[in-house]
Amino acid sequence: MIDKTVPSLEAAVQGLDDGMVVMVGGFGDSGTPHELLNAVLERGCRDLTIISNNAGDGDRGIAALILHHRVRKVICSFPTTAHNHAVREAVERGEVELELRPQGTLAECIRAGGAGLGGVLTPTGLDTELAEGKPVYELDGRRYVVERPLRADFALVRGWRADRWGNVVYRYAQQNFNPLMAMAGRCTVVQVDHVHEVGEIDPMHVHTPGIFVDRVVRVEREVRR
């Protein structure tokens, strides 16, 4: 019987090693796989490249990984918040390389990676510093920035419900980057609040089909709202 659930957070990040590229879902705290990030921290891997919309907050999540010197590079759209000095300071002292992509471009590049497309042709950032060093392609008299697809060795995803085949449902705006990263991870790990038996989720309600998911781990959380 196909069963993608794993018994622990430790098992969920098994094989996530030094030098790997790791996608991390979430927008601020919404849909962020905090417990998986903690498991990565405990695992102790270094030289990670993190792809995520943000770069953590305070000393939590990706910020914790940066503060513990586990991160070599961050690809994101909005690294800094009022409370996040971790990434700023690490970049300023040359420890972390920062690559900025506009949020919609970042989302589309991750989707392109997961969908086997060669890149993204976007008007976003054209003739601005945001497209510096990037190729420009002209088609039928219009110019587009060529953005490279993104893939990852691991995608860390936060969902709400999943079945044992890895079909995932997200709760409200928890989706954000999660369904896209699920497509782009060579190993996609989803932390969820609830695990269901196969057949319990309506086929029409599935946001991420199980084909994109390698591991499911349930994390006990207090009920919100």
Binding site: A107, Q175, P179, R224
Partner: protein, 219 residues
């Protein structure tokens, strides 16, 4: 500037609201634009888009009804109104980049007379976030900016040529400030309305680019 002259931020937001219409799909940028969310009522029929993946965003909930999975682009807790939908970031930006939003309201450091927008980074700043601003400003049907007319140091923000790094070129259509409403036209800036207590001369002096003044406003 005296507090008795011009519009407060809340008044600017109300002034913007007067230009919106029933059925309009509107994206609110971080900062001043998010004030709109608290002014809207269901009867107005204005549908707010939040780029993290919400269409039909409602105002902040009471503290005991906060839900971490329902936040706005500034990561503050909001609500969903009846008729709302949720989706992932690629679909969300497909709406923006694909020209499906009627209006994007953005904050800005500077806007040029050609509609160039600078709102993501200060000159010389090494680390800045761009978020969704660049996609939103190239994609929305109308880009409107809400900002103070002058910097804290008294420098104009409406300029001939932006000195701040650009977010997008030639995209801004209208600018709402504490002093005036200014349109960006193919011919340059044009005064659309004066805030109470300000004269045309005040606004011209506070604007670092030619400002056309139609007779109806100049009176």
């Amino acid at each position: 500037m005296s507090a008795t002259r011009g519009w407060t931020e809340a008044e600017i937001a109300r002034r913007v609201l007067a230009d919106l219409w029933e059925g309009a799909y509107v994206n609110l940028g971080i900062g001043m634009p998010l004030l709109l969310n608290e002014l809207l009522t269901p009867e107005m029929g204005i549908i707010l888009h939040s780029e993290n993946g919400i269409l039909g965003m409602g105002p902040a909930p009471p503290p005991d009804r906060r839900d971490d999975d329902i936040v706005d682009a500034g990561k503050a807790h909001v609500t969903l109104i009846p008729g709302a939908s949720v989706f992932h970031s690629a679909d969300s930006f497909a709406m923006l980049r694909g020209g499906h939003l009627d209006v994007a309201l953005l904050g800005a450091y500077q806007v040029s007379m050609r509609g160039d927008l600078a709102n993501w980074k200060r000159p010389g700043q090494r680390i800045a976030g761009v978020g969704g601003a660049a996609d939103i400003s190239v994609g929305a049907r109308r880009v409107w900016v809400m900002m103070r007319h002058l910097t804290r140091d008294g420098e104009p923000r409406l300029v001939r040529e932006c000195t701040f790094p650009l977010t997008a070129r030639g995209v801004v259509r209208r600018v709402y400030t504490d002093m005036a409403v200014v349109d960006v036209t193919p011919e340059g800036l044009r005064l659309a309305e004066l805030a109470p207590g300000y004269t045309v001369a005040d606004v011209v002096a506070a604007t670092d680019a030619p400002l056309a003044v139609p007779e109806s406003v100049g009176g």
